[in-house]
Symmetry: C2
Subunit: 214 residues, 2 copies
Amino acid sequence: MTAVTVFDAYGTLFDPHGLTERLETAFPGRGRAISVSWRHAQLRYTWLRSLMGRWAPFDVVTADALRWACDVHGVDPDDEMIDAMMEAYRSLPAYPDVGPALEALPGPLAILSNGSHPMLQAACNAAGISDQIQVVLSSDHVSVYKPDPRIYRLVPDRFGVTADEVRFVSGNGWDCAGAAAVGFDVIHVSRGSEPPERLGAGSPPTIVDLRDLV
Amino acid sequence: MTAVTVFDAYGTLFDPHGLTERLETAFPGRGRAISVSWRHAQLRYTWLRSLMGRWAPFDVVTADALRWACDVHGVDPDDEMIDAMMEAYRSLPAYPDVGPALEALPGPLAILSNGSHPMLQAACNAAGISDQIQVVLSSDHVSVYKPDPRIYRLVPDRFGVTADEVRFVSGNGWDCAGAAAVGFDVIHVSRGSEPPERLGAGSPPTIVDLRDLV
């Protein structure tokens, strides 16, 4: 019995590769490659910092990851360029199914994300979905990133429900595995062509459009 | 004052891409790409499983990662092929500087690795360095992977020394960051062209050949 539907943010509602064109304009011929390396480093840094007990806010991790991606691809952005990309990250495009799906779904609807609270609020405002999302839960509250169980437990704690009453939707396979490990009812929304992760957690039901939740 | 010199194993003593030719023979045109995806997935799975509290032995994680890498590149190995690659992983080649460096270094010398104890012993035997390595410390002992502080603390516990008396050598930048976070005296040995990780831990001294330790 679903009491609340909770969405991951980046890679689920918002496209983390939505700045590829801007990167391509700044670094011709390398935009896509930098975007891919940026996203991989961003995730890697969330996992490594969580394991090391050296949490830093998601905007710091994301800027560090962008700098690393630029290092990898041999480009050397100045601080202004990094700041401009980080500002643009606050209004990443939503996937096209997001608006119509959130309009049609029964609430309460929430976000549970590694993102910092100001980043998530800004992205919701930019995408015009602030009115549909009643609660935004962030790694800011626990100073640890997914898939540490402590961040997922924010949801049952906030809504006063059991884990199996939480319907959790993510486009990130490893996030689905982390949510399944704490007992959420998990649905994977496919946002790319990556095969399922092999983390010993089985495979959740997969949809290709959030409107299929309705 | 160094009381013990400790080496990471995969990416430091043993080349995790040492099976590229075998992969290329099995999957023509895709050997290198599969090897790279395999290594990335192997590390990702160690971090994710540690965060989820769902540790599995390194040979299980490594086989799961190989299957995922094959999924990504659209090849479908049978169980025999996976078993053969995992058997070959037990005798990964050592980098050419390893034997001469270990011969010349004052002991005690140890390994601290994510690898399971049998995998590490087999790799040391195959590389002919078992006599130089006095102690092998493995994630088996703590059921968690690097860079969780608990695995690094195996070294001072085992040798009865303080963290700053441990000289720790790794080819993996994130491993260097994890070791620095517990207070080891860290040296990075460069085994490739990846730029330094940006994990807020500064950059350790870097060498390009383990004989530079002598």
